[in-house]
């Protein structure tokens, strides 16, 4: 498969946006400047970046508690994100939601929320809306391996298949659900097969290989758009940071029970280093990549300045946004 330079650049740009954004939050989280719970997706960037690169800008995305990547990859800006993480009025959810509630309907980023699996049925609904309106949009529902413990996923598989809804069920299997290894959560670790009894075409892909992610997502989006119904994809990946915050073990309660060796092994599979190796092999030069990085760094800098000097929501506005007029 040969990709255009512009798409490769764009994917790299997104990857870097996510990575650098996440890492830029480590300090403010650790020193208490950021107070809301933040679930960083460092290490998993290729899933968001690869899947969303396969979407059109009007397609729909729903995320979960770990959605900085989904937000940035589907139209959200770093500014709106950082401001929201600081719970400022200028954040994408006007500071009412924090890191776990990222939304930008204007670009199809319909929202994210931390009730595990809670957004899967919402994504089923936006796909249903598309089926009713025949608007050819595709919905992606991002969720983790932990969410496969919730029954609503299987209800959604069944209904999506029954009605041939244009939805991609995108499971980011990072092998852990908070303090539990997938082996403690599922008798059978092969998640993707659970779509099959519902007649949902199902695949497993290396989630740290952004081009493989991109390829499978393109195929899936095409199938959705051509009325063939849902697709389920399990992306194998790993988070480099704590379940919440920078490092679960530093934060006091020592809940990161992942073996050191396992972590080290996955560091070697860093999706960004991997893609850089690919790009440097004849697509871009080092200088070009560095320029992109500088650009992202500048964006992040701006975003922090913006967020820090943005106002908090006013106390008199506490009751605003309960009901829409």
């Amino acid at each position: 498969m040969i990709y255009s330079k512009s798409i490769l650049r764009s994917i790299y740009y997104t990857l870097l946006q996510i990575r650098l954004c996440e890492e830029s939050l480590i300090a403010p989280i650790s020193n208490g400047e950021v107070k809301c719970p933040v679930h960083l997706c460092t290490g998993q960037e290729a899933v968001a970046a690869g899947v969303c690169a396969a979407l059109s800008p009007t397609d729909y995305v729903f995320g979960n508690h770990r959605s900085h990547g989904h937000f940035l990859a589907h139209g959200g800006t770093i500014k709106e994100l950082i401001a929201e993480v600081y719970c400022k009025e200028t954040g994408c959810s006007r500071g009412r939601g924090g890191s776990m509630h990222l939304c930008k309907p204007a670009t199809g980023m319909l929202g994210s929320a931390p009730i595990v699996a809670g957004t899967i049925s919402l994504a089923l609904g936006s796909a249903l809306a598309s089926a009713i309106c025949q608007d050819k949009k595709v919905t992606v529902s991002f969720f983790g391996d932990g969410a496969t413990g919730e029954g609503v996923l299987y209800e959604s598989f069944n209904f999506a298949a029954l009605k041939k809804l244009p939805i991609i069920f995108a499971c980011e299997n990072n092998l852990y659900s908070t303090h539990m290894s997938i082996r403690e959560c599922r008798a059978n670790g092969t998640i993707y097969k659970s779509g099959l009894p519902f007649s949902v075409p199902s695949f497993r892909v290396d989630g740290n290989d952004v081009l493989a992610v991109f390829a499978v997502a393109k195929k899936a989006a095409l199938a959705c758009r051509s009325g063939k119904g849902p697709v389920f994809i399990e992306f194998m990946t790993y988070r480099f940071r704590g379940h919440v915050g920078a490092d679960d073990n530093v934060q006091g309660v020592h809940t990161d029970i992942r073996p050191k060796k396992e972590i080290a092994g996955w560091f070697k599979k860093d999706p960004i280093r991997r893609f850089e190796r690919y790009l440097l092999n004849g697509v871009f030069g080092k200088a070009e990549l560095l320029k992109i990085k500088e650009q992202v760094d500048a964006e992040i800098n701006d975003a922090f300045n913006f967020a820090l000097k943005s106002p908090c929501p006013q106390e008199s506005d506490l009751g605003k946004y309960v009901f829409k007029k």
Binding site: P105, G118, I120, C133, F159, Y321, V322
Partner: protein, 332 residues
Amino acid sequence: MSSKNKKRKLSYSLAINEALHQMMSKDKSVFLIGQGVKSPWYVGNTTRGLIAKFGENRVIDTPVSENAITGAAVGAAIAGMRSIVVHPRLDFMIYGFDPIINQAANWYYMNGGKASVPVVIWGIINRGGEQGAQHSQALHAMFAHVPGLKVVMPATPYDAKGLMIAAIEDNNPVVFIDDRWLYSLEEAVPRERYSISIGKGVIRRKGTDLTIAAISYMAHEACKAGEELEKLGISAEIIDLRSVKPLDKEIILDSVQKTGRLIVADVGWKTGGISAEIAALVAESPIVLKSPIKRITLPDIPAPANGNLEKCYYPNKNDIIIEAQKLLRNKK
């Protein structure tokens, strides 16, 4: 309202049906989903003719998957539709509480007003008939407790049509609760599309001795009680609340201010029910009552199957009459 319109009678269930027809004709973004939309066994004749007119694409019967289906209705609303999801019994709806309580109710707020959720969550109270504890529940008080939800409970065909239309037109999640015991009631219902303000009660009978604030089916029992009380020399003012969230505080307080006595008649359980909220609104007001408030509700007991037990389980006009007489014992 033309005089011709005034005369056209419609049953409660067909009034809902007309609201659905009119809104689905008017607005392409309206659709109906839920278990039994094509089966009168589930939803009476409320969905008559909808599939024939609007197709299975917009009138969607579903597998038994309340959680996913309720969530789908919510998600479709987030994506710009006006969804209606029906649950043929509130008891079944409990599986779908996450999308209602965690998602729909909070969505607009927690996204800082960036996305609203115009969904109607329609649940039918279906009780009696020796169906027992899991086929009878009236759970409106639970929804009324949740910020971000509105809850309507029309008692008449006219209100059923107007509140269904208002619920569909509302930009927020509205829980619409009706009752199979009301479905065959008939009255004049205008042919035009009209809506009734959510949060507004109505006085069904003027009176001076006591106020009876009633909800849904109990509004009819209250009216019957009101007639008989009149004969007994007791003048009851009867409020049909129509909405339970927001409650029409003004209509309640104005009436109780005048009468000094209040009976609340609800179709739900007593403790923590909506009758408690109504009592609390009055207790928080500066009104000085002539006698204590009385709640007439289901007892704090699951619904029994046996028909004799059912008869004493479900309150009716007689309970209201007896309590009204007690309250008025100390009249003047």
